[in-house]
């Protein structure tokens, strides 16, 4: 599903933010990605959601070596990846419904299908009353839920979430994590970046720990350190 081999990454001419990263995620797996702020979690996720190419090493997603994949082929890979961005990345001029509808519209889904699915999902995440609301009128927690709804609306094969429960209360957080668990059960590979140790300990999924740009610890909580 996802394979990193000796991957390094840098922005422009600056120093490497990721160094010698090697790991492999099986299809249908669920991993937590953790580490201190600035360690490189978001950069690692950016490589996984194809916002950046590695400076060296190779990254393979869905058995495509994205280091060499022509950029024309990247959109079809991206459509199979759902991303919950840390800063939500909602489009302020679009309504809640239109924000969530984006992946379906881009994929060419029918208008009626979009209306039906999006409204249903937004109701499920507790935003059924806010379909026409613009993101700037929503709280951070509500924006977070919109971002999550947009990430999962087209049932991605790979779901990447950067601190998805950081802005929501405990109850909403639990609902979101349950949604991720459900998606994982039906085959979605999940990578969830979080600082929250209670979540990591409660759900008992393998952990990728990154420190100073290096994947220092690969720890399976159920089996101890590897």
């Amino acid at each position: 599903m996802v394979r990193f081999e000796n991957v390094g990454m840098r922005y422009g001419d600056e120093a490497d933010v990721l160094r010698d990263i090697t790991f492999h995620l099986e299809p249908g797996s669920y991993h937590f990605l953790t580490g201190p702020s600035g360690a490189g979690k978001t950069s690692l996720l950016r490589l996984m959601y194809l916002a950046h190419r590695p400076s060296h090493g190779s990254v393979s997603i869905f058995n495509h070596d994205v280091t060499t994949t022509p950029r024309e082929e990247l959109p079809s890979l991206r459509r199979r990846i759902g991303v919950v961005f840390q800063n939500f990345q909602l489009l302020d001029h679009l309504s809640t419904l239109d924000n969530v509808a984006l992946p379906l519209r881009i994929a060419g889904a029918r208008r009626e299908t979009i209306q039906e699915h999006v409204a249903e999902l937004l109701t499920w995440v507790g935003l059924g009353e806010h379909l026409d609301a613009r993101p700037r009128t929503l709280s951070d927690g509500e924006k977070q839920r919109v971002a999550i709804a947009r990430a999962v609306i087209n049932r991605p094969s790979l779901l990447l979430a950067d601190e998805p429960t950081g802005s929501v209360d405990q109850e909403q957080g639990s609902r979101i994590l349950r949604l991720f668990e459900e998606l994982n059960k039906i085959g979605t590979t999940v990578v969830l970046a979080t600082h929250d140790r209670t979540i990591i300990e409660r759900y008992q999924h393998p952990v990728l720990r990154i420190e100073q740009g290096t994947l220092s610890v690969r720890w399976d909580i159920t089996k101890g350190k590897k």
Partner: protein
Amino acid sequence: MFVRRGDLAPGRDRSSRFLPWIIALMVYLAGLALSATMALEQVIDRWSAGLKGSITIVVDPSVNGGEAETDARVEAALSVILTTQSVLSATPLAKIDVAGLVEPWLGKDVLSLDLPIPRLIDVTLVPDSGFDLAGLTRRLDSAVPGTQIDDHKVWLQKILRLARTSELIAILIVVLIALAAGATVMFATRTGLAVQRDVIEVLHLIGARDTYIARQFQGNAVSLALWGGLLGLLFTGVTVLALWLLARDLGSSLLPAVRLSLPFLGALAMLPLVGAIIASVTARFTVMRFLARML
């Protein structure tokens, strides 16, 4: 509750607000250039059509024999002309009409000055009948020495040269306007791309292809260009109508009335469409080039 067609943020970049006005001005200028060319073509066509089937015989006046002798020379010339094949009619111009022609140079009292004014015979030819100009020249030379034949060739060539030059200038103006319109759309699109870069990045990451994003910019550019084009067309229509009414009221024989023909009106009506096509192609080209630099 609705699902939008466009994902770009409307009104985010202020440069696009001016685009319809700039396109309106360009369509207006192109419309005027087109109108001027068509009007000129019509005038030239009528002048040349009037001259093509006719020749003018100039009979020099008799210096010593007086008016009677000159009248006799005109009669002799007429009898030669009228017996020539392919001649439909020959009409000598009255002295007063000839005086009218030279009035701008010699003044109103030219007849009272008793000047030896040449006589003119207006000859109408049978169209496309293979008129033998050289034969008539020889016969007139022997019957009435001192006559000249003007077949308007020099005049027609000058008129045609003027027509072609003015057409080329008008085409050049329209091409320059089209290039300027393209450059304006390119600038506005680039500004839009810069302003909406964050939106574009999100669309890309969600899986939008370059063509999907380009279509949105194209749609926006076409819509703005169409509005501008229609506005420009309205201004052109008002101006052309005003000029046409003025020309009609003038009623001058020098400036034949210009008809608002269907092809002309059709060409004018196409201008906003052409503007929209230029906007669409330019926007697409600009966006695709910009996006090619992104991952």
